[in-house]
Structure formats: structure tokens, C-alpha cells
């Protein structure tokens, strides 16, 4: 139980570290995706501890897992993908404008252009 959480925590942290530390903007977006994936995994994993059947009612279904985290995570996954799609489009636009994917180089080139 604790091992699973630590693994998820590590996934979350490497995602965040990529956003903060990686200069490549596409890798930053990878990091955002990993953070999102970690939170989704956490919700579903913890929400599944109280039951052993999928949350679809029917005959003989008694101990369903908590459906609320699942419904929330449907929304969160989609929002995450939408945001990263927009971020990628912006990244492509930045690349076309400056010819680089490195955030420091991009900042520098845009400043000198101004």
C-alpha cells in the first residue's frame, strides 16, 4: 500500500521536476501529463479500496468501488489533455517564431526582437 503511494509520489515529483527544470518546452508538457497521470492514478487506486466490483449495478453486485473518484477523473483526464493540446499548439507557434524549443533561448530571442 505504502509502496504504491510512494511510486505515485515519485511519478508526480518527476513530472513536476520536468516542468521546473527541463529547458525543453515539449518536455515540460510531458511533465504536466505525468503529473496529471499521477493524480488520476492516485484517485482511482485509493477509491478502489472499499469494494471489489465495478460500479455498474446489476444482479449480484454488492461491494462496488467508489464511483465518485472515477467520475471526477473522467473530467480531469479530459481537461488535462485539452490543456496539453493547447500548450503544444503554443509550443509549435513559439518554435516557428524563434526556431528553438529551449525556454531560455526562446526568452532571450524574443527579448532581443522586441
Amino acid at each position: 500500500m505504502i509502496i504504491e503511494r510512494i511510486l505515485i509520489f515519485l511519478l508526480f515529483i518527476i513530472g513536476f521536476a520536468a516542468i521546473v527544470a527541463m529547458p525543453n518546452i515539449i518536455k515540460k508538457i510531458f511533465g504536466l501529463n505525468l503529473m496529471n497521470a499521477a493524480v488520476v492514478l492516485l484517485f482511482i487506486l485509493e477509491g478502489s479500496r472499499i469494494g471489489d466490483q465495478a460500479p455498474i449495478l446489476g444482479d449480484g453486485v454488492k461491494h462496488i468501488v467508489d464511483p465518485i473518484p472515477q467520475a471526477l477523473m473522467l473530467t480531469a483526464i479530459v481537461i488535462g489533455v485539452c490543456i496539453s493540446a493547447l500548450a503544444l499548439a503554443l509550443a509549435v507557434r513559439l518554435y516557428k517564431a524563434t526556431g528553438s524549443l529551449d525556454i531560455n533561448v526562446i526568452t532571450k530571442r524574443l527579448e532581443s526582437e522586441h
Binding site: 504504491e4 518527476i14 493540446a85 509549435v92 518554435y95
Partner: protein, 81 residues
């Protein structure tokens, strides 16, 4: 239980590979593998709805968008440090 840890460990390893790889296309493939593995884990955890969503959205749509972005930029990640 051991299955969860195994899949999570794989996801973590792939995540690290995604960030470490110099070739962004490889990273995208690793990311989509992460999505597929998560979908597998969600099925094991009895969350079929989330599994379908993750497979369709995470492994499908977001991979397409990432590939498009890399096609329009550059595939290699040159670190100038």
C-alpha cells in the same frame, strides 16, 4: 497487489524514460505506453470507464497531438548546457 506495484513501477520507469530520452518521438511512444499501462491498471482496479477514457484520450488523441507538434518542431532535444 504485486500486480499494482509492478505496473506502477513500469509506469514510473517509462515516465523517467520519457523525460530522459533525447529523441522526443521515443518519449511520445513511452507516454502513450504509460497511458495504456494506466488503462490496464484501471481495469484491474475496476474502473472500466476511466480505462476506456484513458485509452481513447490519453493513448489516442494526445499521442496524435504530440506527434503533430514534434513533426512541426524538431525531433531531437539538444541541451545547450
Amino acid at each position: 497487489m504485486i500486480m499494482h506495484i509492478l505496473i506502477l513501477g513500469l509506469i514510473l520507469a517509462l515516465g523517467a524514460f520519457t523525460l530522459a530520452s533525447r529523441d522526443l518521438l521515443h518519449s511520445v511512444i513511452a507516454l502513450s505506453a504509460i497511458s495504456m499501462l494506466s488503462a490496464l491498471l484501471f481495469t484491474i482496479l475496476r474502473a472500466p470507464d476511466v480505462a476506456i477514457t484513458e485509452a481513447a484520450v490519453g493513448a489516442g488523441v494526445s499521442t496524435v497531438i504530440f506527434v503533430w507538434a514534434i513533426r512541426h518542431t524538431q525531433r531531437r532535444d539538444e541541451e545547450e548546457s
